[in-house]
Amino acid sequence: MNAHLQPTGSAYFIAKETQVAESHTLSILVDNEPGVLARVIGLFSGRGYNIESLTVSETEHEAHLSRITIVTRGTPGVLEQIKSQLERIVPVHRVVDLTVRAKAMGQERPIEREVALVKVTGSGEMRAETLRLADAFHAKVVDATVDHFIFEITGKSSKVDQFVAVMKPLGLSEVCRTGIAAMNRGPQGM
């Protein structure tokens, strides 16, 4: 059989990416109308951008405004594109790259917090250990029986990660995380 013949080139110019990707947190203020979240996340999937965390809720009920917080990863060029592309969406009012703003103020990152509900099942001595560790993490017991606890924990994602890891050997059975809520430090609004 003949060797399989390969094309010598392509109709497209493909350049290697040389910039380094970084993680940024974006705040997007939108009209809370049907389909608006689909427009935003459709933009990310359609253009090949990453979503590491997504949080959305109506924040100004009278004005029907929702705030979407997205943690995304990309090179500086891609991050700039994401912001511009988001601004093109008709119901989008404002897009702020909180990470860029934090850096401009000499900070590493904006304030970023996450809430998690963590269910741990078990009995006997493990329960005391579970409670002791939960206390160390300032996790609150929101539900309990003799066979389980549900903890509510708030903090940076890394803290939640750590808490979940610690609970694993103690009978972790279920985790639900909200995704990140974020805001810049200082008196200036979005």
């Binding site: 094309p7 109709a11 497209y12 359609g46 060029g77 594109q81 511009s84 093109r88």
Partner: protein, 592 residues
């Protein structure tokens, strides 16, 4: 009785809203979910409905109509397949920034989500291929949404929008809100005026240029006739050379002395060399598309770049620029021309003398040259003759997609904007003929020619029936080489001339096809007969299919092969079989 005059059914509201937005023509196809609107169309005379033969045709007609008039094109289709067939023209309009309002019927609101007959998630399917879309669930919102649809479609960077109207909303009675009273969505307010300091900085930079170039695009055409006039004025007062993208042809006249021809993959040698070697580039309403730039890391390496664009996402997308100016091309050019004039006494055009010497040298390479034949019609010759015989008339040109499109762009000279309709971004085969019908609807007495390929034309050939029905004397000028020519050219260049499925073995008899539809068919295969045949085509006041049999294996040159820079063009006189075979070197193999 006060208050009741604004009470109408949804279908009546649609027609009233169209009238209030200045609509005179709509292109559409009826079906179950739009019957109430069609019933209203039947009972009025203000708006003419053009019945198409396929919804894709309706979309391209609306695009041709919009691009040749500067107005919004309007299409009306039914739910389900009507809407899905509209997807191609919607994406086409999105990529080429054509203002389009597409009204779609939808199953009744109570049936949405039940997989009803001819149901599809129209707003879901069309979300990524429109600028915005709406599903109207309340008849009282219908008028506001249609007015907003027109505002969004034509303001800022123009584009297509969809208004999806369930059948029960068309039947329901509600209040009509006139455009003047309708609230607008505050989050969408495009910025038209450019930043004064940025424009000032741009003008300062332009004055220091020794090797300047203006690179203009479709944004100039979209901005309106005044933008084209200002562009010409800017070229005149600065003395800068100017090139343009495919979409921007006609904004600066072909006969203008500073014109370098189109740039890009099949652009002129002088335009591409000047782009590569310039020291200041002024990009006006273009978007650094990959067909334009060639290899990005070798794109115009030593220039400072100014970019005027109304869409912030176009700026710094593919190419980093030094001075971005966000705003409408017309507004920014007005400021730019004024600023230049105010401080032009000290400007000496002779600083560009060496630059123009280089350009003259590049021009002398005559990069569009081709070998003439006495026996067979060369495709380039066919376009040249078509141009010579139609240039003094009121002519509009549309094209399909492929080699014929590039030859049309290279050899047909455009003196005015809005005279050239082509699918640039999406590259939609089947665009040209319906687009030509749309142009002819808007300009009944003009000469409208679709320069086509034998493969492309068969993608929307059914619209012959539409052209005949409405007495629209559109001319289809087919460069018939039996191949999908551009596919064959790429296969020759990149795939060892293995011509996989690019030859059409069973070609229809285009003359008989024209006659079967009730049009006129003309065939020509001798260079000596061509002029008379073209003249005959022009003189016939009916739809014509002109089957122009051209050299089968002609390639479109010059060309920037993949992975190459602007200054590495393959020129026609160097394009021997061997050079073509070796145009893409071993490094090109890594390019996927």
């Amino acid at each position: 009785m006060s208050g009741t005059e604004n009470q109408m059914t949804g279908a009546e509201i649609v027609l009233q809203a169209l009238r209030d937005n200045g609509v005179e023509h709509i292109f559409g196809y009826p079906g179950g979910a739009v019957l109430p609107i069609y019933d209203e169309i039947f009972q009025q005379d203000d708006i003419e409905h053009i019945l198409v033969r396929h919804e894709q045709g309706a979309g391209h007609m609306a695009e041709g109509y919009a691009r040749s008039t500067g107005k919004v094109g309007v299409m009306l289709v039914t739910s389900g397949p009507g809407a899905t067939n509209a997807v191609t023209p919607l994406q086409d309009a999105l990529m080429d920034s054509i203002p389009l309002v597409c009204l779609t019927g939808q199953v009744p609101t109570t049936l949405i989500g039940s997989d009803a007959f001819q149901e599809c998630d129209t707003v879901g399917i069309t979300r990524p291929c429109t600028k915005h879309n709406w599903l109207v669930k309340d008849v009282n919102e219908l008028a506001r949404i249609i007015h907003e649809a027109f505002r969004v479609a034509q303001s800022g960077r123009p584009g297509p929008v969809v208004v999806d109207i369930p059948k029960d909303v068309q039947f329901a009675t509600g209040t009509y809100t006139p455009p003047s009273a309708a609230p607008i969505q505050k989050s969408y307010q495009p910025k038209l005026q450019g930043d004064a300091r940025q424009i000032e900085a741009a003008v300062q930079l332009m004055k220091t240029a020794r090797r300047p170039i203006i690179y203009s695009g479709g944004g100039v055409v979209n901005s309106g006739p005044e933008a084209s006039r200002l562009l010409r004025e800017l070229v005149e007062i600065t003395g800068f050379p100017i090139t343009s993208t495919l979409m921007g042809l006609g904004a600066y006249p072909h006969s203008g002395k500073n014109w370098l021809g189109m740039l890009g993959m099949h652009g002129s040698y002088e335009a591409n060399m000047a782009m590569h070697d310039c020291d200041v580039m002024v990009c006006i309403g273009a978007r650094f598309d990959d067909r334009i730039t060639g290899r990005l890391n070798a794109f115009s390496p030593n220039s400072k770049k100014i970019h005027i664009d109304i869409d912030p996402s176009s700026i710094n997308k593919n190419v980093r620029v030094d001075i971005p100016i966000l705003g409408d091309v017309g507004n920014v050019l007005e400021d730019m021309v004024r600023l230049w004039r105010a401080g032009s006494k000290d400007y000496d055009k002779t600083v560009q003398a060496d630059w123009w010497t280089s350009i003259t040298k590049w021009r002398a390479r005559n990069s569009f040259a081709y070998k003439q034949s006495n026996d067979v019609i060369m495709p380039q010759y066919a376009i040249q003759r078509l141009y010579e015989l139609t240039k003094d008339r009121d002519t509009y040109i549309t094209t399909e997609v492929g080699q014929h499109q590039m030859w049309a762009a290279q050899f047909y000279g455009f003196e005015q904007p809005n005279r050239w309709m082509t699918s640039g971004g999406l590259g939609t085969m089947g665009y040209g003929f319906p687009a030509a019908i749309g142009v002819q609807v808007a300009h009944r007495d003009s000469l409208v020619i679709d320069i086509a390929g034998d493969a492309s034309i068969q993608m929307c050939i059914q619209e012959m029936s539409c052209a005949v029905q409405y007495n629209l004397p559109v001319k289809i000028f087919i460069l018939n080489n039996q191949y999908m020519g551009m596919v064959r050219q790429w296969q020759q260049l990149l795939h060892g001339n293995r011509l996989s499925n690019s030859y059409t073995e069973a070609m229809p008899d285009f003359v008989k096809l024209a006659e079967a539809y009730g049009g006129v068919g003309i065939a020509c295969d001798k260079p000596g007969d061509l002029d008379a045949a073209i003249q005959e085509m022009i003189d016939v006041k009916r739809p014509v299919i002109f089957d122009c049999r051209v050299a089968n294996l002609a390639n479109c040159f010059p060309m920037i092969p993949s992975g190459k820079a602007h200054n590495e063009m393959l020129l026609p006189d160097e394009a021997t079989d061997e050079a073509v075979a070796n145009a893409i070197d071993a490094k090109g193999r890594q390019l996927v």
